[in-house]
Amino acid sequence: MNVKILFFAGLREALGRGSESLALPDGIGTVGALRDSLAARGEPWSALATTKNLRAAVNQQMVGLDAPVKPGDEVAFFPPVTGG
């Protein structure tokens, strides 16, 4: 089962896409590790490393970068929220 990855706001624009689906690479078990593996693809993916105070959610719950990720999860990366 793939992992579905979503991007929002300025990060979505920087990446030029709102979502990505991929098989979780071997050895990637946390949100932070997934972020690093994507950022390592080079431009424009390095925005995942440079976005200030990057936030993440797993299955629509806000989590820290040390949260676990498993196949089938919906993972989202986004800048700090600014609604209200």
């Binding site: 929002f8 706001a9 300025g10 209200g84």
Partner: protein, 168 residues
Amino acid sequence: MSISVQEADFDAGAEIAALSTGRDDVGAVASFVGLVRADKATEAKVSAGTQSAGAGETAFVAAMTLEHYPGMTEKALEAIVAEARGRWDIFGVRVIHRVGRLLPGDRIVLVAVASSHRHDAFAACEFIMDYLKTRAPFWKKEETPDGGRWVDARESDDHAAGRWNPAE
């Protein structure tokens, strides 16, 4: 339904009234309406002493687009309301947050809370707004004469949310 994420405008008076209609135990309804300001992008400059004025000033907000994370948004708002219900003795809660393109003066958000007593209503209403500002997945992009600009999160919002958990 207590939570709505929608493009349409809302009628704050009707929503406030609905929280007490048909019951005689509601003594207090506290509410908050957030609106689009034209001067938001100028904030940093204004607070630094440079009043916005004149032809050279370009940080005027012509419009704002609100993006959100469908599905998670509703869950996050529900969790915030549930947290408020655990902390205060409140009855009905109504949260409406608009998405899409809005103009200066347009309403963005409504939070209204009914209770027996005003302190619970005020506290829960302000708590929900503070948490919404830091935990609900909405993002604002302003249109200015210089182009589009994603609004930066403000540290003051983190502080506002943090004060509800002094031990953290």
